[in-house]
Amino acid sequence: MSKEHTETGRREMTGAEMVVQALKDNGVKHVFGYPGGAVLPIYDELFQQEAVEHILVRHEQGAGHAAEGYARSTGKCGVMLVTSGPGATNAVTPLQDALMDSIPLVCISGQVPTTLIGSDAFQECDTVGITRPCTKHNWLVKDVNQLASVLHEAFIVATTGRPGPVVVDVPKDVQFAKGIYTPPQTAPRISYHPKVDGDADAIRRAVELMAGAKKPVIYSGGGVVNSGPEASHLLRELVELTGFPITSTLMGLGAYPASGKNWLGMLGMHGSYEANMAMHDCDVMLCVGARFDDRITGRLDAFSPFSRKIHIDIDPSSINKNVPVDVPIIGDVGHVLEDMVRLWRASAKTDKKGLQAWWEQIARWRARDSFAYTKNKDVIMPQYAIQRLYEATKGRDVYITTEVGQHQMWAAQHFGFEQPNRWMTSGGLGTMGYGLPAALGVQIAHPDALVIDIAGDASVQMTIQEMSSAVQHEAPIKIFILNNQYMGMVRQWQQLLHGNRLSHSYTEAMPDFVKLAEAYGGHGIRCDKPSELDDAIAEMISVKKPVLFDCRVAALANCFPMIPSGKAHNEMLLPDEATDEAIANAIDTKGRELV
């Protein structure tokens, strides 16, 4: 190594060494992965150093979700390492999951040697072809001298603009080959330049609209969390300054605290009555880092028909995609909110009196108590289980992940989030099996925190093998399973759409989760009585190893309130109205096609 080389950071090394060096140079501390033939040289390098810790999982999908949980809970980039062929194809689900929820994720995959590419070699697949539509960008690196710059670029693309997953596919001969390593450079490629500052004129028009609003609502989303803690801080400041009510998507929970006085609860298909009614009746809507997803809007032609809409988003393609807006502001939520708050302070005055009638209306909607459920002395109601879990963990450093289904919605409804980055859930893709490995990733990033996966009995079995990873890495994650023996959300839709014919949504031969926990070397708890629930939760929290908590809940409880498909925000089905007949007639023929 010559002197000039060390000064510029350029030096000769093998491709495998470059991968590890690039991880270090990009601040990576943890990598989630699974070895195999085509990544052995990289694993050999990982073995010979200590700066980057490798977390071995049991399935590549688990590595991806763990990296996602790691990323969401820290704001840093998640990194996964997989082998060629099945290693790469198993990574597809978390890649698409990260794409839809805008999670920064770098996936490094091994590939068969360049000379064998295209020959149907052992464990060969067209990784860049397969992952092209489920990544923000991807690369096949055939020249070792390009490897370092591609890896650095991969981190830039994954973490800047609208964050997302990227794949760098590295053939085995490139891992062995020697070349020149170049350190990270700040200048990205010319064609990639995300816009972060919002147009000043658009922000001014937005503030004018907001100042004149009589029935405003702020609708925030995952973009606020992605933008960083400062964005959440600014959002709170804006709410405080304007006195506007605020609701959030599933992905955005925690950006504004659930205990905040302007909080309406989550909106959308299973959102609160007051949030959805406020969205429907508002005159000015400020959408901050959300994307008018179909679970949020309900019937599009009846979506918030009386409002002027302001939309802040870093991705221009989100603007006018589903809902036409009056004032689009393209930029990073944090930057735009900063300008907006400054402008509001300088020019606008909060008309608390003018908003009074609106708040009174909201109070009437809130009085409907749309998350209510009938308590039961003998059976644990799933909503009750979440509420008790929330009470038991209040004030602690707690991180919640979920799987996908009824339990996910109940968690979003009944668990209060006070801070961003504390809620990890698969929103866009709806990936059952996300929560357990995501909890592992969160726990690796926050070894001393309380990390709970609120799970369903069906979802959790999709990636339950990662219990073994949690035991190996001494990650004391708590898997709180709301066990109703059904795929509850599937069953709920079958009741709504298919004449209560419960086709294959009941799980017979359920494993004994307590014995299963013990088999993995974890701790198992079962509880089926409301009177014993608090003690059981306390036991779960106190155990210093991974726990499977089999919480037996009412089997046939359904998730309400609900906007049935094809209906508008003001046509919600409320829990006290959800009779069998109402459920059977909730969705008309046209809505049935929409789901």
């Binding site: 092209r132 960008h137 693309v157 064609s191 028909p305 009386f306 995609k321 036409p324 508008a568």
Partner: protein, 190 residues
């Protein structure tokens, strides 16, 4: 919860079903790197957009820039989405809707040209007629023997369509077309 869905005042309805689809020509400047065309085409197929014609070649060798010309159909809303989605692709530098720009410049449409090779085989009167028509269309003969001609014809799409239609009864054997190349009039670049 009585639904009052009749919107009044500043109501915004999606006009996707009622808006008429339009044909637009897009120019896309990209880094010429492996897979870039697959990214562009994959976006169209993945999101259900149409491609009527596609042309691509490296146009600036020293910068390794390629220019892709795509004719596509969609409602104004969909066309806007196509442009925005294309611009998300990392190696895409610029996307210009040439049809929109032509309108801003006061023209009906951008300048569009296509090249076709048309092979016609036959003898006697048909053969004489084919050659006579080719001359009228300003098509060049680029290969011939006593049994066939290959014509090279350049021009607007409609002209090429017409030429091919005329050649059909005169012994048309095969056609190869380049797809549309397009740019706007005037001194400004894309």
């Amino acid at each position: 919860m009585n639904a009052h869905l009749q919107a009044t005042g500043s109501a915004y309805f999606i006009s996707r079903e009622t808006a008429k689809p339009e044909t637009h020509t897009l120019s896309i400047l990209v880094d010429n790197e492996p897979g870039v065309l697959a990214r562009v085409i994959g976006l169209f197929s993945g999101r259900g957009y149409n491609i009527d014609s596609l042309t691509v070649s490296e146009t600036e060798h020293e910068k390794h820039h390629s220019r892709i010309t795509i004719k596509t159909r969609g409602t104004p809303h969909v066309l806007e989405q196509i442009k925005n989605q294309l611009e998300r692709i990392v190696p895409v530098h610029r996307v210009v809707d040439l049809t929109v720009v032509a309108g801003e410049l006061g023209h009906d449409r951008p300048l569009e040209r296509e090249l076709a090779m048309v092979k016609v085989a036959g003898s006697g009167d048909d053969r004489v007629e084919a050659l006579r028509l080719a001359t009228a269309f300003r098509a060049q003969v680029i290969d011939a023997n006593t049994e066939h001609f290959i014509f090279e014809i350049t021009g607007r799409v409609s002209k090429i369509e017409q030429f091919i239609a005329i050649m059909k009864p005169l012994g048309l054997v095969e056609v190869c077309r380049t797809g549309v190349a397009a740019m706007n009039r005037g001194p400004a670049g894309m």
